[in-house]
């Protein structure tokens, strides 16, 4: 019985993240539009876009290789796996031990690795410029993420997300300087990883300023749909990650009754909404950076994360 419940729980989470991700993106777009005094597209527009893209024929460039056609499936699968291993509404995920936080970051890293290859496959300058900038951003964001993870793992004594989340929910944790530094760094990394303003603009279609969009410029139809869905899942993943580590309240424990589960789901949706509004506010308030300002921005995240880890190494009470 317990096994069936665990499997149902894990399956439920996989479906939940898949279904919620487009809604979150639609919500952020809507809030941004309202902040700009625009009507904005309806909340469900991302779903419609995805379905429309799925139904269309995929147009491939003449010299696109087999790799180009496989990568969208891989990117989607990797991102989906990663997203379904982050505790969202409950921490009793059946397979949470199969990949801890380091492995989760690395799974996302593989997705990015292949996406960067896809940018190079067709052999146009746009794909190249996108891939080149993407790996430059990643070369700073990934170490920053790992250092943040080190700090959190040292505080929680574990790299297992469910254990970490449970620890953060316990009264032992308290206010920690290194936690604060880690949070700031994590937010910067999340912004960069999700190609949001000020690092990249998800709405732009001016080739020379794009990073992520330039990389996937040659994709169309169902391939594009999967890459877009993966991007939405990634946004959801990072928000869930921040939520489960820094505002873990309401996450239902592994052996939970329906009431706790319901509380967990409501709390989770609430957290997503708050995060979505904050993201929209931030993006509206700030201008996009020049590409070569990004290393400074991300370098600051790396330094903060390193500082947090250092403090943590030096004394347990930081």
């Amino acid at each position: 019985m317990a096994v069936i419940r665990d499997i149902a729980f894990q399956g439920g989470q996989m479906l939940l993240v898949l279904l919620l991700a487009p809604l979150l993106t639609g919500f952020v777009r809507k809030v941004k539009a309202r902040l700009l005094r625009r009507q904005g597209p309806p909340l469900l527009q991302p779903y419609r876009d995805l379905i429309r893209l799925m139904r269309k024929d995929a147009v491939l460039a003449d010299n696109a290789s087999w790799l180009f056609r496989v990568i969208p499936y891989f990117v989607f699968a990797a991102t989906w796996i990663a997203a379904s291993l982050v505790p969202t509404f409950g921490s009793g995920l059946l397979f949470s031990w199969s990949a801890d936080l380091i492995a989760l970051i690395a799974v996302l890293g593989s997705a990015r690795f292949f996406l960067a290859l896809a940018g190079l496959d067709v052999g146009t300058a746009f794909g190249g410029i996108g891939s080149s900038r993407e790996v430059m951003i990643a070369s700073l964001a990934e170490p920053a993420m790992l250092m943040i993870m080190f700090t959190l793992a040292l505080i929680a004594g574990s790299t297992q997300l469910s254990t970490m989340s449970a620890f953060m929910n316990s009264p032992e944790v308290g206010l920690r300087v290194s936690l604060g530094l880690g949070l700031i760094a994590l937010i910067i990394v999340a912004i960069a990883e999700n190609a949001r303003i000020p690092v990249d603009n998800p709405a732009t279609h001016l080739e020379l300023t794009m990073v992520h969009e330039a990389m996937v410029l040659e994709y169309s139809g169902r391939h594009l749909a999967q890459i877009e869905l993966a991007a939405m899942l990634k946004l959801l993943l990072y928000i869930s990650l921040i939520a489960c580590l820094f505002v873990p309240w309401g996450i239902s424990p592994p052996t939970a009754d329906p009431v706790h589960l319901a509380i967990g789901v409501v709390a989770y949706v609430g957290k997503l909404a708050v995060a979505g509004v904050m993201l929209a506010l931030f993006e509206t308030a700030i201008a996009k950076m020049r590409v070569f300002r990004v290393p400074g921005f991300l370098g600051a995240a790396l330094m903060l994360a390193l500082l947090a880890a250092l403090l943590r190494f030096v004394s347990r009470s930081f």
């Binding site: 024929d57 796996i81 380091i102 790299t159 880890a309």
Partner: protein, 673 residues
């Protein structure tokens, strides 16, 4: 008994050298090539089996043998213990893969007689270094290893660059051997007992031990490619034929790591507190510098050589951690770090061989190693592209392949280090962690570049567009190694358990048994702290990708149309409009290179209306070469210039020089207390 069988195998390898010469002169090239590489394949497989048998031997018997060779009062001692058997596996697995690859690849060799006699001796020498149990046979084998690999480096002697590479290699190898010679001289002490058993029984006092430690780092580090002793490596490794490059990068650097582990963990007794600091600092710096250099290269094989330097840095960082834990008596943590380091030794030997094989196939098919001249090979060489991609994923430390597992274990070891009481380590370890994380991310960038510009895009030259898929032997070698990478990635528990006796013998602790963990996960300390299951991650990725593909193709659309790529409305864009590998690396060059390489870009625009091309010049300075090697070279040249006049003396003056020297030495002896 094992060691005797192994020595027979080594003798067989040595015997292949004269056979190669004899056959090569009488029979044709192809017959000799097939014969020698086939024989090498069989012997190395046999040696590998012996090594595996003694590694998995439950009773852990150490087999020893003494041959009446070498110094008359000492004899040549050989011995296979757990550490040696692990490195024998690495050496012979790499050797077998390289021999299989060479069965196909070696046929394209221009002058095989310059390669064939040295190749089996090279393999034999590496085996002997690992088995040696006294300083004398260790050094002789080490020197044989250096000399035969030097001969292989200059086998293609018509290229001037190769001769220069060979010269620098010979100098550095001599320097390294000299350091090791001094180290062993100090270890043996005044009694002059060169057998390892005697050294182990009487470890040197602290001051001498410190000196030996420094000499060991210099000696083995110069062979492994630690910065700043790496200068020869990116010149020599690419110059050799590709299967030999694979051996040099994948295996010989590991023999150097073996030398370091043997001396520092086994022979030197209790480590001093600052040793781990030195190893950690050098390891971290080597990792980042190596990969930054790799990102700036255009030569595919040189990219791989620099990436070897990076991986050696990672291995040494893990060894440094193990040393730190061992110093403080945290044996279980030392076991974790050492396992991580040794597992990375094994993994790197696999994927680096694979990548060099791939680079060799590309070189054969196109005649060039310059990635700016390649492109689009995925269409012409789909199978090579596939296995090369597997190697790239593995070396970039991405799940579910094996490179990730050893990095993951290293990071887990770093997370244990706040328990270390030393203040220096508390500061050093997080910094090294950041350096390793940085190097992992940069390595991914480096291999996106290496794979993307070699195999993807459109062919940039006729040579690339006319390439042919490589032969089946080479492909078989690459597929086998790639499969091993996958197996080590998804079932790491087996490999970690196999390393347990090695680690046990060196740091007196071991990681928990992994093969009994549910679902074949790996759990370094406790499941509540960290666990990773490569198999499940792999299965999940495959299955959810397959489900997505199935669902979309059934429910939505599976139609594909082909059309030209988007080129802003310009039809038939030239292949020169593609992004180049140099421009791909430009953002990273700008972020990191301005400090590390003092990189400068000088753009020259012609005046408006002029039809002259605009020029962009990029200047990179190898600061280590400029500030360390160039002054030494200048100094040597200066001294040589000054001593030149000694060449033009009369015979009488020469005789008087010799006479004076003799008398001086005798005088010294006479007044020596």
């Amino acid at each position: 008994m094992m060691v005797v069988y192994a020595l027979f195998g080594v003798a067989a390898l040595v015997a292949l050298a004269p056979i190669a010469v004899a056959f090569g002169v009488s029979q044709g090239k192809d017959t000799t090539t097939t014969l020698i590489y086939g024989a090498c394949l069989i012997v190395t497989l046999g040696l590998c089996t012996i090594a595996l048998l003694s590694l998995f031997d439950v009773s852990h018997t150490i087999s020893q043998a003494t041959l009446p060779l070498g110094l008359p009062w000492l004899g040549a001692h050989f011995r296979i213990d757990a550490l040696a058997s692990f490195f024998l596996v690495v050496v012979n697995l790499g050797g077998a893969a390289a021999s299989l690859f060479a069965l196909g690849y070696g046929r394209h060799e221009e002058s095989p007689l310059r390669v064939l006699p040295f190749y089996p001796v090279y393999l034999a020498a590496m085996n002997l270094v690992v088995m040696a149990d006294d300083a004398f046979s260790f050094l002789v084998s080490w020197e044989f290893m250096s000399l035969t690999s030097w001969a292989l480096v200059i086998s293609n002697h018509r290229v001037r660059e190769n001769l220069r590479a060979g010269f620098i290699y010979l100098l550095m190898a001599g320097f390294g051997t000299l350091s090791l010679l001094l180290a062993f001289g100090l270890l043996a002490g005044a009694a002059g007992n060169y057998a390892f058993d005697a050294i182990r029984a009487a470890p040197p006092v602290a001051g001498v031990a410190a000196l030996v430690f420094i000499l060991a780092i210099v000696g083995t580090g110069s062979k492994a490619g630690l910065i700043p002793l790496h200068a020869w490596l990116p010149l020599a490794h690419p110059a050799a034929p590709s299967h030999v490059s694979a051996l040099m990068s994948g295996v010989m650097t590991k023999v150097a790591v073996y030398g370091f582990v043997r001396i520092v963990f086994d022979l030197l007794g209790t480590p001093a507190w600052w040793w781990s600091l030195v190893v950690l600092a050098i390891g971290g710096a080597t990792a980042v510098m190596g990969v930054l250099y790799a990102l700036m290269q255009r030569d595919l094989k040189r990219v791989l050589a620099y990436s070897t330097i990076e991986n050696i840095g990672i291995i040494f960082a893990a060894l440094g951690l193990a040393l730190a834990f061992k110093t403080e008596g945290l044996n279980w943590a030392a076991a974790l770090a050492l396992t991580a380091g040794l597992f990375h030794v094994f993994n790197h030997s696999l994927f680096k061989s694979l990548l060099f094989f791939g680079a060799g196939s590309v070189l054969n098919a196109t005649g060039t190693r310059d990635i700016e001249q390649l492109g689009g090979l995925i269409h012409r060489m789909p199978q090579t592209a596939f296995v090369f991609l597997a190697g790239c994923v593995a070396i970039s430390a991405l799940p579910p392949l094996n490179g990730f597992v050893s990095e993951w274990l290293t990071f887990q070891a770093i997370l244990q280090s706040p328990q270390l009481p030393s203040w220096g380590l508390k500061l050093m370890v997080p910094a090294v962690g950041a350096l390793l994380a940085l190097s992992a991310a940069l390595a991914a960038a480096c291999f996106v570049r290496a794979f993307g510009f070699t195999f993807l895009g459109r062919a940039r030259t006729p040579a690339a567009s006319g390439a042919q898929e490589t032969d089946s032997n080479s492909l078989a070698a690459m597929y086998i190694v790639a499969a091993l990478c996958l197996i080590a990635g998804i079932l790491p528990g087996v490999f970690i358990d196999a390393l347990a006796p090695v680690v046990q013998s060196l740091v007196g602790g071991r990681m928990p048994v992994q093969t009994s963990v549910e679902w074949l996960s790996i759990v370094p300390i406790a499941e509540s702290r960290s666990s990773y299951n490569g198999l499940l991650v792999f299965v999940f990725m495959i299955s959810s990708g397959a489900i997505a593909a199935f669902a979309i193709h059934r429910l939505a659309s599976d139609k594909v149309r082909r059309g030209p790529a988007w080129g802003c409305g310009y039809p038939d864009a030239s292949t020169a409009t593609q992004y180049t590998a140099d421009s791909f690396a430009q953002p990273i060059r700008r972020v990191f290179g301005t400090v590390v390489f003092r990189a400068r870009e000088i753009g020259e625009m012609p005046p408006p209306g002029s039809t002259e091309p605009a020029r962009l010049t990029v200047e990179l300075h190898d600061l280590i070469w400029d500030s360390l090697y160039a002054p030494i070279a200048a100094g040597v040249a200066f001294a040589a210039e000054r001593l030149n006049y000694l060449q033009f003396l009369t015979i009488r003056s020469y005789l008087s020089l010799v006479f004076t020297a003799l008398v001086l030495l005798l005088l010294v002896l006479a007044i020596w207390p």
